[in-house]
């Protein structure tokens, strides 16, 4: 009997937990307000903060958050930063707030958040926490009346590739990974406690039109579009620089191959001569010759990130144009009447 018990325990210990894929991020209204407040106060500077919550099956609940102070580039402040975090977590624990880090949030300008730093931060977090998420908030877009909140996660296949630090063409083709697969966007659900919802129902303003509506019906979206286009153009420039890098690589690769072929031919001709003269043939390979040195293939990570960013800008432009069309037609009908 003891044997069968031990075996079943061993079986249980042996089977790994199946990690269910993350489907939904459930945020509390409190967290949204806190994020908005923090990002708005310091805009246009970029700020970050920590998310706290619970990891439950396919839902990641975010129940609280706290902001990070703006860090200067200083050695001592690094330790301070860690202290601040520990202190905050400890204090929040005392008032029964979930003490579990589930990710971080950051603000962005016009959606230009796809950088290598983001990926590195993700990898850092991923080492300690099984499931973490990054929430991006765009204060400039929210002035247009849209709640620009996004929850992002790195896709698993991308993470494996990043760990191996190899972004060559074949590997990517193997995994069938394109630029769209780097970041996964997770749908956000909002939940509120019953008490808060009672209060908000109570305190809701009586006016049928809110500030949100004023923002949305604003006719001047030109400055926003202009900045968006500027960023888009800059990114296109960056992309063309990356493309040129690749072209250069391919050209030098083919040139090197041609050189190798030529050298091989010469070597073979030499060998034939030597055989005719009765000497030993020389080896057909010569690793010390510089034309045999493999040229490193440039990493595609940058171009992927830039592509992602461009796609983002395009999406934003589409969204704002859609809104503008609505507004223009509204204006037209008002004028006709």
């Amino acid at each position: 009997m003891a044997n069968s018990m031990a075996k079943s325990f061993l079986q249980v210990a042996a089977t790994e937990e199946v990690v269910s894929p993350l489907r939904v991020v459930q945020i509390e209204g409190l967290v949204i307000l806190k994020i908005i407040k923090h990002c708005k106060e310091f805009s246009p500077a970029l700020v970050t903060g920590q998310l706290l919550g619970l990891d439950v099956g396919i839902v990641l609940e975010v129940t609280n958050c706290f902001p990070f102070p703006i860090r200067e580039e200083d050695e001592e402040i690094e330790a301070d930063g860690a202290n601040y975090q520990l202190e905050m977590m400890r204090c929040l624990r005392e008032v029964n707030v979930d003490n579990n880090t589930v990710g971080w949030y950051q603000s962005t300008i016009l959606g230009s958040y796809q950088t290598v730093e983001l990926i590195e931060t993700f990898m850092n977090y991923q080492e300690n926490i099984r499931r973490c998420v990054c929430i991006i908030y765009d204060p400039s877009r929210s002035n247009q009346g849209v709640l620009a909140l996004k929850a992002l996660k790195l896709s698993d296949s991308f993470m494996e590739l990043y760990r191996a630090n190899s972004f060559t063409g074949e590997k990517l083709r193997e995994k069938n990974l394109s630029w769209m697969d780097i970041f996964e966007e997770i749908p956000i659900k909002v939940s509120n406690s019953a008490l808060i919802s009672a209060f908000m129902t109570e305190l809701e303003s009586d006016t049928p039109v809110t500030q949100c509506d004023y923002d949305r019906l604003q006719l001047s979206s030109n400055p926003y579009m202009e900045r968006n286009m500027e960023f888009l153009i800059e990114c296109m420039d960056d992309l063309s620089v990356e493309q040129q890098k690749f072209q250069f690589y391919y050209r030098s690769l083919s040139r090197q191959q041609a050189q190798q072929q030529a050298w091989l031919q010469k070597r073979r001709a030499d060998n034939m001569q030597r055989k005719a003269a009765g000497e030993d043939p020389l080896p057909e390979e010569d690793p010390s010759n510089p034309i045999f040195k493999p040229i490193p293939e440039p990493s595609r990570l940058e171009s992927f990130l830039i592509t992602n960013q461009i796609a983002n800008y395009c999406n934003q432009i589409n969204g704002v144009s859609g809104q503008s069309f609505n507004r223009l037609y509204l204006m037209k009908s008002l004028h006709d009447n």
Partner: protein, 286 residues
């Protein structure tokens, strides 16, 4: 004889002339959240209010945090060290937010509150006491703000009285997020650009309908005419800029064409991206 011993009760008005207080929705959310998470034996939650004092004397309450406390019939004990630690941490992020008062849940003020008010007045010259009635005792959630006023008899301080001051709930941020999202206990999806636009236009249409109906009612004599409202409506209608039809058409078409061009550009950019990606990861021809 001597004008010394005046037996008139003096109400000293608050020295720094605090006229009113403004509360941001985040504070209410924070307080409710702390109340829901309070330890089982505690009846109410006490915490510190952070914010700033505006130049015209209004106190702007922007943030808050709960402070653990123990309470019994006679005494109240507040965890002062926790309070200081949290204050230091918060000020690292936002040095402009200072203590402006304290809050407690539950309607009205109790005896223990005076002691706590005393403690906070050592930190800040005139702390505001905010009560948030989470028990909904009056059938509604009341949020009230108090300031302590000294009652003096002649030269002797008798007691401190809690005097209510006008409280302004400035809900601009909550409105921006959208009350629908903040009201319901569960929202499945955040609205995107076009859905939000739809909702807004629906509201605008409803407003215009209301005004239309009102004007109709007045014309038919069902509702007595109010000159002020009539003037407002006339002003609003007159504020539409008077452009001649060709000028207006040109204006609109120009804007339309600009938007269409941008849309076209962004579509081309995306196509370019698709192509570039195919080229980059295509098999090398060696």
């Amino acid at each position: 004889m001597a004008a010394g011993d005046r037996t008139v009760l003096q109400f000293n008005s608050p020295s720094s002339a605090i006229l009113s207080a403004k509360v941001h929705p985040l504070v209410i959310f924070n307080i409710c959240d702390c109340y829901v998470r309070r330890p089982d034996q505690a009846e109410r939650v006490i915490g510190t209010l952070l914010g700033s004092v505006l130049p015209d004397g209004t106190v702007d309450i922007r943030n808050s945090y709960a402070v653990p406390h123990t309470e019994s019939a006679e005494q109240v004990a507040l965890d002062i060290e926790y309070h200081h630690n949290m204050l230091v941490s918060h000020q690292k992020v936002n040095p402009k937010e200072v203590i402006v008062g304290w809050y407690s849940t539950g309607l009205g003020v109790t005896g223990g509150s005076a002691l706590i008010q005393d403690f906070y007045s050592r930190e800040v010259p005139n702390p505001i006491h905010l009560t948030v009635d989470t028990g909904f005792r009056n059938g509604e959630g009341t949020v009230k703000a108090f300031v302590s006023v000294n009652l003096a008899l002649g030269d002797r301080q008798l007691a401190a009285q809690f005097q209510e001051i006008p409280l302004d709930l400035c809900m601009v941020e909550a409105e921006r997020v959208g009350f629908d999202i903040l009201k319901k206990t569960a929202v499945d999806k955040l609205p995107n650009d076009l859905e939000g636009m739809e909702v807004t236009m629906g509201r605008l249409l409803a407003l215009i309908d209301d005004v239309y109906k009102y004007v109709d009612d007045v014309v038919e004599g069902r509702v007595p005419a109010d000159n002020n409202i009539g003037r407002f409506i006339a002003e609003t209608v007159a504020s539409l800029p008077k452009l001649s039809p060709p000028a207006f058409d040109k204006l609109m078409n120009d804007s339309l064409q600009d938007q269409l061009l941008l849309l076209y550009l962004s579509s081309i950019a995306r196509t370019q991206l698709g192509l570039a990606e195919k080229l980059n990861t295509a098999a090398q021809i060696l």
